[in-house]
Amino acid sequence: MNSAMPFEWILAIRFMRQARMQTLLIMAGVALGVSVIVFISALISGLQSNLFRRTLDFQAQIIILPPKEVSRPLHQAGGGVMLATLVQPRAQRLQSVDQWQTVLAQVAKMDGVSVVAPVVSGAGFIVRGEANKAVGLTGIEPETYLQLIALNSKIIAGTANITGTDILVGMDLAKDLGVWTGDKLNLQTASGGTATLSIRGIFDFGNSGLNSRSVYIALRTAQSLLDLSGGVTSVEANLDAPFTAETVAQTIQAQTGLKVDSWIATNAQFFSALEAQSMSNTVIRFFVGLTAALGIASVLVVSVVQKSKAIGILRATGTSRQQILRLFLLQGALTGLMGSLLGALVGWLFLNAWRNIAVNADGTPIFVIDFDPMLFVYAAVGATLVGILAALFPALQAARLDPAVAIRG
């Protein structure tokens, strides 16, 4: 007997050790449940941060656009007025954000805005020899834009720091055209602009659509190619706190009268998926907890019956009701605690194995797993509480046992 240990602990541990098979089975049950929770939680939070990162790697958190038009005069010739309804969002002729420098300065001054950048985007063709490829071109100022989008980290050759006659192309486009950094390309637009640009960098977004259809050029070059002289098609910004984007977007919209999109609004589906995942995780935790509680309770109910003689003898030799109550609560708590620690360990080993198994051909993981060590603590505390709650009914039963009846057997 360990001198540091109170009476109830000594009894609880001896009882659990003696009923070895019951104890091991119920702990294995709790451990299994906890390992499922650990595994699924890590998987879901990994999935979430992965999706989050993937989205914000390609997209500014706030995009300010010209106001959405219902109709506008398209062309005025002679005395007649021709009205055309604009149905397609992307008109042949691009519209600039009105007084964009003022808007940009205004947004830059707002609290919580970390970076603001002007952007020109439109359509063009890459012409090289016989080949002719349609591309979406984005005109940027690298000083600001590279803080907005994680373009730098996607560069596999050359640099993203472009000037007037440079172009960045995707890996797939470069392969299709058989070009590499330093090679020259001809870029043309529908409005008749044309420029010969040299490839300054090659990027890989991990997405063949983007890799074969996006190109980046300098803002001024894009303005002249797209006939926007001095205009930009959007002003884009990032925030210190990405999840405040929707409220900030609404503030800017109210102040400027421009159309302002937040990444939260444009990815509404993504956010409802996140919510569904969190919800299903909660449901899983609830049912695992309930199952563990029922398991612990049923083992202890049986144990109270099996130990009734011992309980009677303990009561006859001076053990109080409260001590018997604590003895069984403690068995529930210990079962929950040990089971959860074992389960957290198993879950963690399983995660590591998963990391090594679920990999792409190039060795990178298919799922990024995000393991928070605090999960061990939460699991241990949660399972201990579940154990105590589960033990409540059997413990009360044990404490209320009539010792005279128990001893008579």
Partner: protein, 239 residues
């Protein structure tokens, strides 16, 4: 030392009924009056079903009488709450049952320590020494470290006696302590009880079916159908 004639146990009109309020209601003990003095060594005999175990459970404060008063070392007990009953039981009463006296999860020595442990909360060296001393006193010096299941029936009863004595109770209640033993082991266990009694003030109330053993007690009480049929002093012939 207190007065030799001090009263260890007093029963006044003790009744016990089971299944109260049900059609099966039966009164098992019908108003018992009984006094046991300090240091008395008393046999309780009677046919099976006469209420001996029921009486022992009442005296041991494991059960409550339906009527009457029960005093342990002068203290009335029927109005006490469970907590106070537990304390009084721990302090004043030692139990020895017929079977399954010991907790199989513990060694012989640890079984003897249990009442001390329950009373004080944590084990200490003094407890261990006290338990070892009693183990020796009951003649089991070498088996203290054995798990209680590994002991013979006679050895288990000796350990149970040591445990019953560990709190130095005023009264030891033994319900057929030798009922499960062969004649030789029964004799030895009985001798042990007798010796402990002679060396201390502790009173003993021993239920037995064996007339030979009853004859070795100072007093023989016979219970028949829940009433005291006879209560006689017995002259013990000592070797």
């Amino acid at each position: 030392m207190a007065d030799f004639n001090a009263i260890t146990l007093q029963l006044k009109g003790i009744r016990k009924a089971y299944n109260i309020g049900l059609p099966a209601e039966t009164e098992v003990l019908h108003g018992l009056d009984l006094t046991i003095a300090r240091g008395e060594f008393v046999a309780l005999i009677g046919p099976s079903g006469s209420g001996k175990s029921t009486l022992l459970n009442l005296i041991g404060l494991l059960d409550k009488p339906t009527a009457g008063e029960l005093l342990i070392t002068g203290q009335p007990t029927t109005q006490l709450q469970d907590r106070e009953l537990t304390l009084l039981r721990a302090k004043a009463i030692g139990f020895v049952f017929q079977f399954h006296n010991l907790l199989p999860e513990f060694t012989a020595l640890e079984n003897v320590m249990l009442p001390l442990l329950a009373a004080r909360g944590r084990p200490d060296e003094a407890m261990r020494l006290r338990a070892a001393e009693l183990i020796e006193q009951v003649g089991l010096t070498n088996v203290g470290k054995h798990m209680s299941n590994d002991l013979s029936g006679g050895q288990q009863q000796r350990v149970a006696i040591a445990r019953a004595l560990v709190m130095q109770p005023a009264l030891v209640l033994a319900d057929e302590p030798t009922g499960n033993l062969d004649t030789k082991a029964a004799d030895n266990v009985f001798d042990l009880l007798r010796r402990v009694n002679e060396a201390s003030d502790t009173s003993f109330l021993i239920v037995t079916h064996d007339p030979r053993l009853a004859q070795r007690c100072d007093r023989i009480i016979e219970l028949v159908d829940g009433r005291i049929d006879s209560d006689k002093a017995n002259r013990v012939s000592r070797p």
